[in-house]
């Protein structure tokens, strides 16, 4: 034997050379650059944009999109998609509004449990029965909207007046709105999960190559169910925030089209729809880009229809920049 393999752990390993850094998502930096350009441009040219009240307003508006986009990023990283987040928000809002008379804790917990269960149903159908994610969550999108209306007494507007519940959507901690804090905590936890825990690896491995992941001992099914549960849980939180902000549960309106905003944020942020990769920070940047555009167009009195057209253009450019490249 020419050389010993030295699989004995007592032999100190030689340090391999380290000069090469991975291209840590060029598109994430591109998105960050685009955000900076937008903010600076608006600060210079849009009257009243660079005021602290307006900037807090942007963060306030974006917090619910960020919450759902974080969950959506994890789902998309497993190669799936979750169309049901908007409906889950409405269900959570409805459950909380109806149960508030029994106490804030009961209402909030029940809302989050129901939301999470909806996610577990999504994940189980997808991972266990191998139905396509887009079909399963489309069904939940439709059913959830109906469920929310049933819960809130056939779709009545249920008004909410509870000082403790109001904190979610209208409270502040110092200058910082509580909902912005909640979104930040969710972002922090998600980044930590992806970077530092086996679960994060399992998410990326399941999305990158599910058969290979399974053979390497990755609990693919459990991982997939978990990400849909997390996505629904975060959507539930977002639903509570919106209900608190509105002071009412509006089963027909809460979370409407939220799934599209969340997917747009994820895509603009640089997470590939094909799965196996994820950037939570990118999704936050993506959500901010969309929000800054919406806010500034609003301030510049640009018609809403035109702002939608520009949103669409941005999504297309983001996807174009991420396309697989030929050598």
């Amino acid at each position: 034997m020419a050389q010993s393999l030295g699989l004995d752990p007592s032999v100190p390993p030689a340090r391999p050379a380290r000069q090469w850094k991975p291209r840590a998502g060029i598109s994430a930096y591109a998105a960050l650059g685009a955000l900076l350009v937008l903010v600076i441009g608006n600060a210079l040219f849009t009257p009243n944009f660079a005021t602290s009240s307006n900037l807090w307003n942007v963060l306030l508006q974006v917090s619910t999109v960020v919450l759902t986009a974080v969950g959506m990023t994890l789902v998309i990283a497993t190669g799936g998609i979750d169309l049901s987040v908007g409906s889950v928000m409405a269900v959570a809002g409805a459950v909380a509004a109806v149960l508030l008379p029994r106490g804030v804790m009961v209402a909030v917990l029940a809302a989050l449990v129901v939301a999470t269960l909806m996610g577990i149903v999504n994940g189980s159908l997808i991972a266990g029965m191998r139905v396509q994610p887009i079909v399963v969550t489309l069904a939940t999108l439709i059913a959830g909207r109906g469920l929310a209306q049933v819960i809130s007494h056939e779709g009545e507007l249920v008004t909410i007046s509870d000082p403790a519940f109001d904190v979610l959507g209208r409270g502040h901690l110092g200058p910082v709105p509580v909902q912005v804090l909640i979104a930040l905590v969710a972002v922090g936890i998600a980044i930590f999960l992806l970077r530092a825990t086996p679960f994060g690896r399992y998410v990326l491995a399941s999305g990158g190559n599910a058969p290979a992941a399974r053979l390497a001992g990755v609990p693919v099914r459990r991982t997939v169910i978990t990400v849909y549960a997390m996505s629904a849980f975060l959507a539930g939180v977002a639903g509570l925030v919106v209900a608190s902000r509105l002071g009412a549960s509006d089963a027909a309106k809460i979370g409407l089209n939220m799934e599209l905003d969340a997917i747009a944020a994820v895509v603009v942020g640089g997470t590939a729809l094909s799965g196996g990769r994820a950037t939570i920070a990118g999704s936050v940047v993506g959500a901010l880009i969309m929000q800054v555009i919406a806010t500034s167009f609003n301030m510049l009195l640009v018609p809403y229809a035109w702002s939608l057209a520009l949103k669409a253009l941005i999504i297309l450019v983001a996807v174009y920049l991420q396309r697989p490249r030929r050598v």
């Binding site: 699989l7 391999p16 491995a205 390497a216």
Partner: protein, 520 residues
């Protein structure tokens, strides 16, 4: 055969970024010639062929087809000029029929509609002319890999290919299917088609190639006639080593067979009794002792991979018993098997091995993550230590542990996958075609590694379709046929002839016994 070459490539260079992938390489093909193109992975074979078929653009050099200079912008241009490639991974529309695939983009029409009758008739005639018994109206997915490959070749022929590139055409073919391919190649050769034949299998090169061009590190090493070129010399050319520097034997296993006696009385790490699974596996019994390399031989479809998957819990077992360390076990998922100390390297590195977008580090530690985790967090220190140790010890060549695994050569990917199991400290390692599709240098290294692991006391079950790997590497060889274990060879009984005899059910008595044997 006229003297002017059909195709001449001269001084071809190509750089990716700063790295020279090809440096002034020449290649010429005569009419009716089968020309082998060999070299280790990364030698530049595929780059050269991609330039020939218009998938890449060359930086410098000249390509001449029948004396006139050509410059293909796209693979379609090349096809139009009669230069066609059939790749390792077959590019066909699996839900469409054979005829549709052959004539896609140039379907015969009638009043603007596809003339199905004429298309099917033409396809049938083409296939018959090539000696292939394939129904043109069958969907491609209903054919086995070999036949799909034949369809891809037939498509090339129907395009009027004068130069056909076959890239690893036999990597998923059974011996019988290989002989069909040989016949097809002989027929094309007789028609004056020039064939570039890329393969790692020497037997094939010597069986059908006229000349060989050897590349190494993007440079042309030599072009020689196959007749009169000794195998050892060809290996030397590929590796850039002198004859003396090469070890004895074709594989890196050395003398493992002698260990057979020494381990005979150790209790088995794995024992299977009458294992059955799915439609293909009926009755498999054998055992593996610590320190042994047990070869699992059999033709394609004999149930080798199915055996491995059933033991590993990847497929549901519907009969028989598996004992690990003497205890009857029933792993329902790979996760269960891993916890029992079993590791499994799949034969399909791309589909079932690597997670392409993840780094070497993340791929390497994937199976061992639970043991690297403290309070729910993956320990960076332990992780780095393990990754560095195995990268160094296995000689994994990469720019860093952060490099994406899909950017590595096949041999290095395979080493990462082996390391993925080694760091779980398995008692039994199941290797399904551990050296398939990797270059000869890395192949020897992996074989030596497996040998070393067995010497350290690991039990190894090695599936291989390479006879040399089985005869030189195994302490015992278990032969499967039609989903049943039919023979076990030990020590001096292990020879290519004996293995092949047991694999092929050509004796009528054997197949009669087989047909009536009870399916458990």
């Amino acid at each position: 055969m006229s003297d002017a070459p059909l195709l001449r490539m001269e001084g071809i260079s190509k750089a990716f970024g700063g790295a020279m992938a090809l440096d002034r390489v020449d290649l010429s093909l005569q009419r009716g010639e089968v020309h082998a193109l060999v070299g280790e992975n990364g030698a530049g074979k595929s780059t050269l062929m991609k330039i020939l078929t218009g998938a890449y653009h060359r930086d410098a050099g000249v390509v001449q087809l029948e004396g006139s200079e050509v410059d293909f912008d796209t693979p379609a241009d090349a096809q139009g000029a009669g230069v066609c490639a059939v790749h390792q991974e077959i590019h066909l529309l699996s839900h469409r029929t054979v005829a549709e695939n052959i004539y896609i983009g140039r379907e015969p029409t009638r009043y603007g509609f596809i003339d199905w009758g004429r298309m099917n008739a033409q396809a049938a005639e083409l296939l018959r002319g090539l000696g292939l018994d394939i129904d043109p109206e069958a969907t491609v997915e209903s054919l086995n890999t070999a036949r799909q490959q034949m369809v891809a070749i037939a498509r090339g022929v129907s395009l009027g290919a004068r130069v056909l590139v076959l890239d690893e055409p036999t990597s998923s073919l059974s011996p019988r299917e290989v002989s069909i391919l040989y016949e097809l190649v002989a027929r094309l050769k007789a028609n004056g088609t020039a064939i570039v034949y890329i393969s790692h299998r020497f037997d094939e090169l010597y069986a059908i190639c006229d000349r060989v061009t050897v590349l190494r590190d993007g440079k042309l090493v030599a072009t020689r006639a196959m007749a009169g070129l000794e195998r050892l010399d060809l290996v030397c050319l590929m590796l850039g080593k002198s004859r003396e520097a090469l070890r004895d034997g074709v594989t890196g296993f050395g003398d493992h067979r002698d260990a057979g006696e020494a381990v005979a009385d150790r209790p088995a790490v794995l024992r299977t009794e009458h294992v059955a699974s799915g439609a293909k596996l009926h009755d498999v019994s054998f055992e593996v002792r610590p320190g042994e390399i047990v070869g699992l031989a059999g033709l394609l479809g004999s149930g080798r991979t199915e055996t491995a998957r059933a033991i590993f819990g990847a497929d549901v077992r519907n009969g028989g018993t598996v004992f690990v360390h003497g205890e009857s076990v029933n792993p329902r998922t790979p996760d269960d098997a891993i916890r029992m100390g079993v590791g499994f390297v799949s034969e399909d590195r791309k589909a079932e091995g690597i997670i392409p977008e993840l780094s070497i580090r993340e791929n390497l530690t994937l199976a061992a993550l639970p043991t690297l985790t403290k309070f729910g967090v993956v320990s960076r220190v332990k992780q780095r230590e393990i990754v560095e140790r195995y990268m160094t010890r296995l000689g994994i060549k990469a720019s860093s542990a952060d490099q994406r695994i899909r950017e590595l050569s096949g041999g290095n990917q395979q080493k990462v996958l082996l390391a993925r199991w080694l760091c779980t400290d398995p008692k039994l390692l199941i290797l399904d075609e551990p050296t398939r599709g990797i270059d000869i240098g890395a192949k020897g290294e992996i074989q030596r590694l497996v040998n070393e692991l067995a010497k350290l006391g690991m039990g190894v079950l090695m599936i291989s379709s390479e006879i040399e790997e089985l005869t030189e590497g195994s302490t015992r060889v278990v032969v499967l046929r039609d989903g049943c274990s039919v023979a076990e060879l030990t020590g001096a009984e292990i020879s290519p002839q004996a293995i092949i005899r047991a694999m092929a059910s050509d004796s009528p008595a054997a197949s009669a016994v087989n047909a009536t044997s009870p399916v458990s």
